[in-house]
Structure formats: C-alpha cells, structure tokens
Symmetry: D4
Subunit: 220 residues, 8 copies
C-alpha cells in the first residue's frame, strides 16, 4: 500500500539509475500532477513534469506557486535545479516550427544539469545553413536533431559527425506527413549509420537519452 | 469490337499526346505482351514494355527474336529507336541498390530519344559525394532522383537546383522501410519546394514525366 | 550565429534556384511569420507565406499593414509582385469543394508571375464537362489537376494531353477517403503515364513544380 | 451432428436464397473440395468452386474426372449447368491484366445462368476506348467494372449509365497500389453516385451480386 | 465557360442516368449550396443535398426559405418531391447509434420516390431480434443493412435473403473500430455471398445504389 | 414491431446469458439513453450505461433523477444494485493516466456484484512497484491489467500468475502510440501465454469478460 | 549462467503458474527445439511445441523419435500426456478453412488435460447451422470461436451463451482480409459483451486462456 | 567521375566520423559487394558487410577467399580486424528466436573493436530470468536489448539501469506482430525514460550507435 492511491511514485529511481522520475502530465489531473511534484521533490530535491497544458499549469501553480512553468516547452519544474556543467548537447531543428520540441529537450537537459547549444531552422532544403554551423555542432558530446515533414536532417548530420545522434521526429507537416509518421519512418531508415530514434515530438526522451550517454561518460 | 480481344491498343496516343503507349508487362502473359508489342510497333515504328521478368522475356523473344531485352532494367524494346538528342536528363541514385530503377528510367528515356547522365551512390550519408557531382547535375534540364530507405536525397538536390526534380522512391530497405513507403512519404513531405513524386520503383513514370516536360520545352 | 534566432532565412535561394524561399506559416507564431516576411522581402523585393489561418493573419497584418491576405487561399503576400507573363498554367478541380487548394496554387503562381486559367468542378462523374473545356486546357504549358475522393480526374486528363500534368490530391471526402489518402494513392497509381504527384492539399507545391518547369522552359 | 465432420454443407441455400452455396477452395484440401462438390451437386444438381489452384485442381479432377476446371478463372464446375438466358451482364476491365478476375466473374455468371458480354482494356488512360463500347454497355442490365491501379474506370462508367454498377478492385499494380488497396479506396470514394464495391479480386462476389439483382428483377 | 464559375452543374444527368445530380454540401459554402440547389431544381423540378451541417443549413434556408432541412439525416430538399411508389427498400440498423445514417438513406430514397421500411437495433448480439423482423425484410426488393463496430449484421442478413443486400459501415464505435474501418473490412470480407458495400456512413450512396437496381427493375 | 422504435431492447439477455444488456451511450441521444435505462430497469431491476459524457448525463439525470452518474468512469446506474460477493477481481493500471478505464471496469464489476481490488501506477519502468503488490494480486480470481503506451504490464503480470489475465490497452500516450494501437498490438503479441485482450479503453468489456469467467466459476 | 546458452528455460513456470512453458518453434532451429523439449520434459514430465513446420519436425523427430508430431496442428508433444478430465471446451470454426487453427487449440488443450468438443463450418452465412449445435455448445465451460474473413461468428455465439468466449481471428481470406486483420478488428469491436480476443491464428493462446479459466475454476 | 561507376565509396568516413563505411549487401550483386569490400579495405585496412545471403556469400568468397562469412549474423569481414578492448556492450535477447539479430550486432561490435557480453532468452514472460543476469548487465557501458513480439524487454531493462539502452525490435512473431511493427511501436512508446530505438532487425545499427557512444566516451 502507499499513501497516494492514484500514483505509486518511484523515489529510488535516482539512486538506481542516476536520474529521477519525471511526471508525464498529459492525462493526469492538476491535483495528481501537484501531488507527484511534491512527492518527488521531497525525495530528490527537485521535480519536473512534461506535456503540461497552460490551463492545467495555472491550476498546478495555484497549489505550488514556487513551481516554474515554461510555456514554450510546456514543462514545469519545482525545487532547486542544478548548475549546468560538463560536455554540452547540441539541439538542432530543421525548421522554426520544430522549436517547441527543442524547447522541451532543452528544459529537460537544464533540469538534469547539462549545458545546451540550440541551433534552429537549418533543414536540408538549404543545406548550406547547416554547414555554417558545423563547427559548433562538432563541439557537442551528443547531438539531438529534430525534424518534421520528411525528417531528413538527422541523416545529413549523422553523416558528418561521429558523436551519438538522437533523432526526434515531429508532427510538423500536413497531409501525408501523418502527424509525424513520415519523419519517424525516415529516421528509422536513415542511410547514416548508428542513428537512434525516439517517439514523435519526444524532446524529453531525447534529452534523457543524452543524459544516459553523458552519465556513462563520467562514471563507469 | 476489336481484333485483339484481350487488349484494346491505343495507337493514336502518339499523335494525341506526343508519346506512344507503353506496355506494362507484369500481369500479362508472354503472348499478350508479344501481341501488343507487334500492334504498337506496327502503328508507331517502335514499341516498348516494362516490368518484364527474365523468364517471360525468353518466351517473348522466342516469338519476336528482333526485340531487345535489358535484364537490368527489365524492359523490352522492339522496332527502330530514335537517336538521342536535345537537353539531357540527370538520373541520380542515392545508393548502388537503386540502380535497377535508374536503369528502367534510362531505358525509357532512350526509347523516347533523350540523352541521359547517370550518377550513382551519392546519398546523404556522405553528402560531399553529391557536391562533387553538382556541376554535371546543373547541366541537366530535368533531374530524376531515386532513393530508397529514408528517401532524403531529393530534398537535398531539390534545394540546390532550379530545374524540375522528379523524385522516385524505391523499395530498397527493410523493416520500417515498408517496401518503399518510408521513402515515398519522405518525398511527398519534402521541405524542398516544388518536388514531384511518382510511385515506388516507378522509373518508367519518372522518365515519361521528364519527357512531358522536355516536349513542352520544345513545342508550345 | 544569425540575428534572427528562431529562423535561418535563405535569401540566396532566388539566385541559386530561380525562386525565393516561401514561408510555411502553419506551425509558426504570428511574430515569426512577420519577421520572416520582412527578412525575405528585404532580400527579394517580395515575400509570400502559405497556410496562414485568418486569426493569425490578423495579427500579422497588425504588424505589416501593407501585406495582403487571401482568405480563400490562406496565403499572404508582402512587397511588389510581378506582372504575369509567359505560358499559362491550367488549374483544374474535380469538384467545387477542391477550390481552396486551387486558390493556393493560383496565388502562388501569381506570386511567381505566371498567368493561370482556372476550371472548376469537371470531375469524372460527368466526364462531358471536362471535354467541353479541353480546348482551353490544351493551350496550357503545364496542367495542375486537383481532386479529392477517388482522385480520378488526373488520370483522364493525363490521357488527353501531352503537357506535364501535376496531380494534387485533396482531403475532400469522408470515411475511407482517409483525409486524402485515397486520392493520393489513386494518383500515384494512375494508369496514365508520366503524371507526377505532390502532397495532399499541396497547391503551393504544385505551383512551384510548374514554376520549375516553366523556368527550365525559358532558361537552360 | 453431420456425416462430414470437416464441413457443414448448406444444401437449403438454393431454396432459401435462390442460389446455391459455392465452395471457396483456397484454404481447403483437395479432398475437402471434392467432398463438398459432391455433397452440393447431390443436393442442387450442380456445384461450383472458386480460387482453386491448378495443382490442387489436378488432385480434385483425379477424384471427380467429370468436373471441369477453368484455369484462367481458377474455378471448377461439377454437374449440369444451366443454359444462359435473361438480361445480360457487362463485364468490363480497365486493363488486360485484370482478365483473370473478369474470368472468375464470367464463370460464376455462367454457372448461375446469365449471359455475359466481356469488354477488356478500356481504362481511363485512353478514355475514347470506353466510349466506343458504350452502346454495348448500355444494353446490359448490370455492369461489373474491374480495375486495378487507381481503379478509376468505375467512376467514369458510373457517370454514364443508370444501371447498377458493381466495382471490383484488383491487385494489379505495384508499389503504392498496395495489392489492390488503392483501387479499393478509389472505388469506395467514387464521385459517381450509387456504385457498390466488393472485395479485392472478388469476381465471384460481383457476379453473385449481379445475380441477386437479376433475380429480384424476375421474381418479387 | 459557364455562368456559375465555382461549379459546373450536370443538369443532363437525369436524362442520361435516370437520377439527378445530388449536392455534396460538406466542403461547400452556404452560397455555393444555394446556387446549386437552385440550378438543379430549375433543370429537374427538385434538388437535394447531403451532409449539410445545421448551422450551414440555417444560412441556406435564409436564402431558400422553401427548402426543407432534415436535421437527423442532415439533408436538404428543394422543389417538388415525388410520391413514393413501387417496390420498397428495407433500411435496417444494427444499433440505435446507426440511425443518422439510416435517416440519410431514407431521405434519399424519399427524394427518389421509393417507399422505405425502417427497422432499428437488431444487431447480432441478440440475433433473435432480427428473426422477429424477417418477414418484413423478405418483402423488400432491396435490403440496406447499416452497422458500425464489427459490422456483422449484413453477413447474417445476407445469408437469409436472396434480394440484393447493400452493406453500409458506420463510424459508430471507438478504439480499434478506427472510425468505421473495422465495419468496412468486415463487410468487404463477408462470408455471405454477393453482398456489396459502400463507403463508411454513406447512407446516400446505398440509397442511390438501390435506386439503380429498382430503376433497372422497371425499365430495361 | 416494438413500442420503442429507435431501439429493440433485449430484456431476455439476463436469463439467456446471466447478465443484462448494458447501454452504450456514446452515439445515442439523452432521451434514447433514458428510454433504454427505464426499459431495462423495468425488466431486470437495474440498468447500466457506459461512455456517457457529463453534459449528456445532466440531461439524463433531469429525466431520471434517481440514476447515479460516476464522472470518473463516465457510467450511469439506475435501479437497485447487488451487494458485492464472491471471488474478487484485481484491476491494475500501469499508470495514473489509465485510471478512467479502471474506473469503468470497477463500476461495471460493481453493477454485476463482484468485489474489486484496484492497484494503480505499477508499470514496468519501475517493476519493483508491481512486486510489492503481488501478494494482493495473487488473491484475485481474475486479473484485469490496464496499460497505455507500450502496454507491457500484462506480459509481466501474465508471467507471474496462473489466473485469467484480461489485458486492456488504453489510448494514453502520444505520437507513435497511435491512440492505443501500440498497446493493443503489444498485448496481442504478448510472450506471456494465454492472455486475452479487449478493445482499446474497453474497461467495460474486460469487466464483463471477468463476469463470464466468475459466472462459469459458480454455475456449471 | 546456464548450460544451454541459446535459451533460458523456465522450468518453474509449472509451479508458479499451473502450466508449463511451451516452445514457440517458428524462428528456432531444429536443434534448439529438441534441446528445449528435452529440458522441459526433464523438469515437467512432458513438453510441447507449436508452429513447427513439417520439414523441421522431421529433423526434431530424428533426434527425439519418441516425440509425436501432429501435422494438421503443426504441434509436437514429448513425454507422458495427462488423461483429459474436467469441464470441456468447445472449439468452433466458422469455416472448413479455419480447421488448422482449431487443431492447434485442440492439441494444446489435450496437452493440458482438457476434454474438447470440436464443431466446424457453422459460420454466419448459414446461421441455422450454428443453432443446430447450440445445445452441445451450451454444455461447454469455455467456448473458443475461430473465424477468418469478417470474423462475425464470435459475436453471434457471444450473444447466445453466458460462458467465457475466446475469439480467435484467422488469416483465412484474401484482399481486404489483410491476413486476418479484418477478423481481428471485427472481434475487438464485437457488439456482444465480454468477448476476449487473442492474436491472429493463435489457437495455442486461446487454449491456454481456457486453461487459465478452468484452472481458476478448480483451485482458488 | 569515379573509377567504380556502380558505387561511390566514402573512404574518408573513418577520419571524418571515427568509423568506416559498412556495406549493405541486400540489394547489391555479388560483384558489387566484392568491389566495395576491396575498395574500402584498401582505404581502411578492413571492410565489413551486412545482410549477405549465404548463396551470394559463396559468390563473394569465390572472388575474395580471404574474407570471412558469419552465417548466423549474415555478415562478411575482409582484412585485419582489431583486438577488442575498452568498456563492454551487453547484447540481450528476449527470446532464442532473436539470436540472429544479436549475432549481427555482435559481429559489428567485433569489427569495431568492442568486447561484447551476450545474454539470451530472458524475456518478460519469466522476468526472474532477467534478474538473475542483472549484475552482468550493470557492468556494461551500453546495453542493446533485442526483442520481437510485444517488445517489452527494453522497458524493463530501461527501468533498471542508468546506462544508455538501445532497443532493437525484431520481426519475430506472427499475425498482429506485423513483421516487427508491434515491437517497434512498443519500444517507441516505452514508459522507461530515455530509451532509443533503431529499425526492425537492425542489429548493425544498434552496434554502431553503441560505437558512437563509446567513441564519445574516449575522445572528446
């Protein structure tokens, strides 16, 4: 049994895995979100939630006025966040429209203490825009590449750098983009070797995958 | 009624549209293919068929020994073909595995009298390979770009040239490539403006689309 | 680095490819749209955006009162547009319901300086309606055919003219039309040779493909 | 309980519905097919099976040498068939490749006693071929239209005749034809009013639907 | 050219096919709908439209106050409708939730002059409910069977009557019903022979298919 | 004929099958729901409905003020419910977001008289949370496991208990979760033997399947 | 570590869950199958495998000549099987073509010690065939209903009995049957309450689900 | 131009990215494979190819007798391979049937110089088997988890370790496994945070993703 019957928080995840449980807010009520933020912050010093709509965020903030909501990333943070340190993560978007997913990735990386370098709107229709930024990109320890529509940017980046490349398809597009499916399939079938892929619009997942890599970088 | 009850040839297409009917051999018997080649060559001087398997080709050649079968393109030609002349068409593949589709396009262009320049294996995983060939590509009046897997090459080419770009997805790949669907969706959602797309593995259709463009180029 | 951190405009596309970058407004904020219109108009004399909702358009027009919004096409133009000249493009719809996509194509062609002839509601359920317009259609250098539901009109048109035919599936229909997928598949599998296809509802892409053809017509 | 444990024949269907049970042979063993042909012929005077492969047919014929196998239609008939009489059914194909499905429809109609008029290869890429046959088609009481690829022919026919039109998609095509799905969707979304559709390659079902119509024509 | 540039009405359809053009209102503006109702009523004495939302209907009725809107069927009729006569059509639903589709079919049949017998909520989960109504059903010349969810009712009805059975899948259901796809596939694969199928929620199409049958019944 | 033309209630189901008809409210009007609740309660003493939206519930309650609406489960009960007795059913969710589906299952089980034990948020990302509850779970006669996203929890539970496990996929998730399809496919392909699956979000169906099992438990 | 590096047998499953691990042979080599049969028979007295092709079975039998292969069910048994006892399971097929799946279910039930009653070819196209067998079916404690094509039989059975009904879709059919998807969707959306579903062609899974029910019947 | 017209080898990839080009053999001819192996070995000292069928391998080995073919992994190596050194990669399979994909991953890791620890058949249906191996798994710097069917194992592993977890869906399974789609979707929607995914059966891609991580581990 637990004291919080709607949820079974996992406060030991931090010790077990090196990162805390993060709250997926989308299908939860505001009071469920607030309960979980408090429980996890009590255990870990800070707590974080993703996919929180602005109106639900208002309700949560009424309960937890010290929490911080990022409307572009739709994330909420509560408690004391770490200073960013260590190798940086490049977060690159193919288009301006992909920025909200990049914001979610960047907010998550900030919560986990990693410095981030964001580069926007360098998609393959004007591939010279990417080349102008390659020096910056090559300095990153991990590269997150975010693209909707045909999702081709990770293939090009993946052929230029040796670092881990995490591809994030987005639901940007229309018609046969099928809400991100076209980009997802493109990334899964990339001719660039050794790319990995996360779910559509999953900026959070890409950030946590980067964290797993950087963590392994420091410790084992 | 017609004399050839299994088919209704369209000998007037040449006059009506500027190109002859071409025979789709895949679901036809060898004798149906041979009948149609003869009927169309009688009307137009030459006839052409696509998607002809080697074993069925042997049967057709037994009937029409003067026909010519191209095993890489799986096409058959019968009668007197034109000399190639006029602006050229670039036929580019992302990988070596896409060559059979390029061969079908090239054989069709040859049947229709267009010079062709073929460039192979310049996919986006090593995008410098494409850049080394851009001068050649820019000399073409029409560019056909053939790619399987994620189908990203047409987007990059489409951002570099102003000429018409016809994208051909191929069934090269496995798993979530879904027999060419991933490449098809990628091309339909290209962030490069004004690309057009044909069916998966449809080298013939791309060649005929190029012919429609070049024909309009000469005549109107 | 660039001065406009949410976007990386591509002002050189005009010189590189013969047409300017066009803004896809759907997933951008009004201020991002306005920024890009200004940046591109500064470089090219005029700028153009597609898929702009009326309410977001009001916000953009508050910033850029000299811009012109076309509510049927959902496009915005800013700066001095060219006089139409040269060969014309036929823009044909199967039904009245397909008109918004035709309007997007026509507005794009106007932005690029091409005269357009629009013909509406001549779908195959009453195919004589098409035949009454064939003389007009045959005068066009490029034919854009727009259809929802089963998307059969491009096949019929494609069997009647020799000019390039660009097929645009629309999301008109219901049930097993699957938001335009039925029409898209129909067009990709057309028995008329050499049709090319763009994304569902992509009137803009069809217009730019026509521009690539007409441009190659003039220059190479 | 019944004497034939692998099957439960339905000999009363003839009286109940005006047509006998027909055997779907595809997933049955040769001896199951032979048993059912005998049981149904004993009850109804004749029996009929569809989707019988040539090699399995050889096995069935070894048991029932008086049965008749039609290799083009892949059907088997056993017993005394009726003379054809009454209004005729037009069976039209878009292409030569669709003939096997037309043959299945025609063989079924023959088993049920209906005269048939077959017209092949009049698809919409050369729509004048259809117009040359319209007089014949208008004489039919029911029209079966069979097409693969984009499946557009039923829409055009459906806009020209007032008789019932039964559309049969076929698996002819490749790539995005998806084994007949493109044609099926096209037919379900036809802009011609009041078409009905049967399963992909289901010439048998179309014939039986025609029989239901003609039967209702005679009796009620 | 035509006087009504947004549409190309087809007033001759009545003479050509025995039924008038019907207006698909879904993607049209209210003024387009009103224009077409007037044009078709002028030619044929009456006009009819389907898929008209209540709010758009209000706008149409403001222009054409003598038109009649049926909110359950979402249809509009304008002009003088015929008296119902001749054989009747049974319109059967599996559930109460399928009634709007049945209403569309019934309103269309009324516009075309056919008597209708409606039977609701006799789906296969309580198959005795169907058996209690079979006597009525057997009196119909054509049977329209409407079902959502798994769409099994047409198979059972199709095994009990010899008359033509037109199956209409509906979008009733949730989850893996996929907006009517489950019912559509069920009907296309029915083990009852000779069923035909129309698009999801297409009560209008089923009614017109019945009209084609009954018309052929009267005239040929 | 029946007195209630929009529906054909099945009051004999209780006697025939051991459980009453339950009303699926989603596509019905409030008055249709109220009519059916009254008809079934008159026959069986109590009636129950699922998938009733809050606003429609208000309308129903205006007619039937003694009915009870459960907003979390979106169910309505009317009449005298049984006392819970007999073996219990475990209702387990992978996440907090799956609770509404668990509530529907629990409300249905309560209507049918079965005691329920609910356990929430013990998904496989922290599998120790499940192990802490296994003793409770092993006491249940039937286990209902509810999960969205990848739907992995039923496989783990199914490998730990011998009792019947009914897996319920939910539409919780985003992107490639495809509204519950990912979870549904996961459960259908479970490597744990002998799991069964119901439709996405179908807590009601899982409860009734449990009732069929427990009923067979008592009676045969 | 274990002695058998290609597999990690689970001999404790019998004690933990009341049934032994069963070998899925499809993607295993003959020697892997033989190793596992021996390891599990050593632990449990008997072992069982499913989806074993005849040619691979010959190889296994060369190693384990005392094993018994059932070619219709494609199962292999090794060791001493129990006598059948307790309540019986009805295994019903819609068609003759579904028999191999019924055979797999029956062989599995025999391995687990349950008596089985098999009833074949009673699909809904002739629903009277089912009614003639209902007395037998009502005597079963669990009912397994197996159907391909539209998969409607479980809905009808599910509306007639109160016992647990496990629906098994089969890959019987063609075209839009999509290798069993149509039947699977039909069963998941059944209007009969409380059906559960297993994977396509998964006779084994249905049998084991029945075992879980009967086991719970005996013990808790 | 290049000397090898069917391919454009990329010998600089090693220097550019830290790993050499690897040959995808599936759609290439044996002579194309041999040419590429020689060209890349000349540049890099060793070359490697994947997805090489045994019969094509025989042809390649006839040309390059010093090459080594691994029939389980279907890979070919040519030239001098490195000694394994550095942190190890765990390669875990859910079932015995997934071993070929694990073999491809392991062969690729060997070619790239990484020590590997393979653990087979520890899927979630008997989750204790995984727990017995967790100590070994926790020693790995990167964890590759390979699973077919529902693909649940990566979620459980991902909740237990902090290291990077790369999930590989396999095509093991049948029916609604859809050749690996079920596993792929499961992995993309994992409730365990920060997993990444590669294409179905893509053991090579997972290995190269691990290499990118370990390389970043050593160098930046």
């Amino acid at each position: 049994m637990n004291d919080n019957p709607h949820s079974t928080p996992d406060p030991g995840r931090c010790e077990r895995q090196g990162f805390p449980e993060v709250i997926y807010c989308q299908n939860k009520t505001a009071s469920q979100v607030a309960d979980n933020l408090q429980a996890l912050a009590a255990a870990n010093g800070a707590a974080f939630g993703t996919r929180l709509d602005p109106s639900k965020a208002d309700e949560v903030l009424a309960t937890l006025p010290k929490a911080t909501y990022d409307p572009e990333a739709r994330t909420i943070a509560f408690g004391t966040l770490p200073q960013a340190s260590g190798p940086s993560v490049a977060v690159i978007t193919a288009g301006t429209s992909d920025i909200p997913v990049a914001a979610e990735a960047a907010a998550t990386l900030a919560f986990l203490g990693h410095p981030t370098r964001r580069i926007h709107d360098v998609g393959v229709a004007g591939v010279h825009r990417l080349f102008e930024r390659m020096e910056e990109i090559r300095q990153a320890a991990v590269v997150i590449v975010i693209a909707g529509m045909e999702g081709a940017l990770p293939s090009v980046v993946g052929g230029l750098v040796g670092a881990p490349v995490i591809a994030v398809p987005t639901s940007v597009g229309y018609g046969a983009a099928f809400e991100g499916v076209a980009a997802l399939l493109g990334m899964l079938n990339s001719c660039a070797s050794g790319l990995t892929v996360v779910n559509i619009d999953n900026g959070f997942g890409a950030a946590l995958a980067a964290h797993r890599i950087l963590q392994s970088h420091h410790c084992p």
